[in-house]
Amino acid sequence: MKSSTSILMITEGFIIITLILQTKSSAKKNKKHMEKKTLLHLPHELIIEILLRLPVKSLIRFKCVSKSWFCLISDPHFANSHFQLTAPTHTHRILLISTLAPKILSIDLEV
C-alpha cells in the first residue's frame, strides 16, 4: 500500500479530502483511480492556503498523503502560520493523566 491518491473537493469553504490507498497492482487495474489523480493539480500555493485553514487533527492525518505534504505540514514555519491564522478558532482539549497506570486520555469539550 505505497501509493495514494487524493481527491479534493471544495464546497462552501469546506474541503473534503478522501484518500484512496492503492497497491501498485490495483493502480494498474483501476483506471478510475488514476483519472482522479488529475484533480490534485491545484497550484502548490493554493494547496498551502487550503491546508493552513484546516484543523490540526486533519493535518496530522494528511501527513500520510505524500512526502511533500509530510514535509510541508512538519515545517515549523507552516506550524507558526497555521497557529496564527487559526487563532480565532483555536481548539482545546482536556488531558486526563492517570497517576498510576500509564494511561492518557483526551476529550474535546467544544462539541
Binding site: 507558526n80 497555521h82 497557529f83 482545546h92 482536556i94 486526563l96
Partner: protein
C-alpha cells in the same frame, strides 16, 4: 509533566516530545534537591520556551531555594543567583510540586512568605526572567480548606474551597491589586460534589475536577451544569487543558 527529576515537554497533537536534561546541580551527589514550584511558558521577545523550577536541598536545615530555568532555544539551564527567596509551598500534600499559572507572559504560584507568615502570589516574568511578588486580594480567606491559582479565561484567578462553597476571585486588570474581585461563589452539594477545583474555562463555562475523579462543569453565573466521572482510581488523575497546534520546539529534532 514532572516525575521525580525527569521533565518532558510534549505536544499531544503531534506526539513530538523532548526530554529536558537534568540540571547540572541535580547530578551532584552531596545534595538532594526537591522541586516545589515549577512551570512552563513562552517568552515572546526571544521566541523561546522556558521550564522554570524552584527547588531546595533537603539535606540542609531550612529552605535554601535554588531558582533556575531551562531555555529551549539555548538548551541549557541557567541559575538565578542573588535573589532573597523566602517563599515556600505550604499547600500541596505528598511533596507534589506546585505548577505555575501562565498569564501575561509570567508564571504565578500561590506561596507562603515565611518571614511574614502570609500568603503571597509569586510571579516569574518569562521575558524579564525575574521573580516578583504580589499580595493576595484583601478579604481573601486564607483559612479555607484548599486554594490555588488558575487562569479564568485570560485572567489570573484564585479559587478557594470552603464549607459547601468555592470562592472564585479574579484579577481583572493585571498587577492592579484593587482590581481583584470575588466574582463567583459556587455552591457544592456535598452528596454529589464534595469538592471542586477549577482548572479551565471553555466557552464561558468553568470546568474543574471533583478530587481528580470527575469532571464538573458550572456556567459563568456559577450554576451547576453537570458532572461526569472519568477515573475509576480513587487516587484520581491529573487534568490539563491544551490548545491543539502543530507547533514544535525551537531546534526540535524529535
Amino acid at each position: 509533566m514532572h516525575t521525580n527529576s525527569n521533565i518532558y515537554v510534549w505536544n499531544p497533537s503531534t506526539g513530538l516530545h523532548k526530554q529536558i536534561p537534568l540540571s547540572p546541580i541535580d547530578s551532584r551527589l552531596d545534595a538532594n534537591y526537591l522541586c516545589y514550584l515549577y512551570g512552563f511558558g513562552y517568552d515572546k521577545l526571544r521566541d523561546d520556551y522556558l521550564v522554570v523550577s524552584v527547588s531546595y536541598d533537603t539535606t540542609l536545615d531550612g529552605i535554601h531555594s535554588r531558582l533556575e530555568f531551562f531555555s529551549m532555544r539555548d538548551t541549557k539551564w541557567k541559575e538565578i543567583e542573588g535573589t532573597y527567596f523566602p517563599y515556600v509551598n505550604n499547600y500541596t500534600s505528598n511533596n507534589a510540586p506546585r505548577i505555575g499559572s501562565l498569564v501575561n507572559g509570567a508564571l504565578h504560584w500561590l506561596t507562603l512568605h515565611e518571614d511574614l507568615m502570609m500568603d503571597v502570589i509569586l510571579a516569574f516574568d518569562l521575558t524579564e526572567r525575574k521573580f516578583l511578588e504580589m499580595p493576595v486580594p484583601d478579604g481573601f480567606d486564607q483559612e479555607l480548606e484548599g486554594c490555588d491559582l488558575w487562569v479564568f479565561g485570560e485572567f489570573l484567578s484564585l479559587w478557594a474551597v470552603g464549607e459547601d462553597i468555592v470562592e472564585i476571585w479574579v484579577m481583572k486588570e493585571y498587577k492592579v491589586h484593587s482590581s481583584w474581585t470575588k466574582t463567583l461563589v459556587l455552591s457544592l452539594d456535598g452528596n454529589f460534589i464534595p469538592y471542586f477545583s477549577p482548572f479551565c474555562t471553555v466557552s464561558g463555562d468553568i470546568i474543574g475536577t471533583n478530587g481528580g475523579t470527575e469532571l464538573v462543569k458550572y456556567d459563568d453565573k456559577g450554576r451547576f451544569l453537570e458532572h461526569r466521572p472519568y477515573c475509576n482510581d480513587p487516587g484520581g488523575s491529573q487534568v490539563a487543558l491544551y490548545t491543539e497546534s502543530l507547533l514544535s520546539l525551537p531546534s526540535n529534532s524529535a
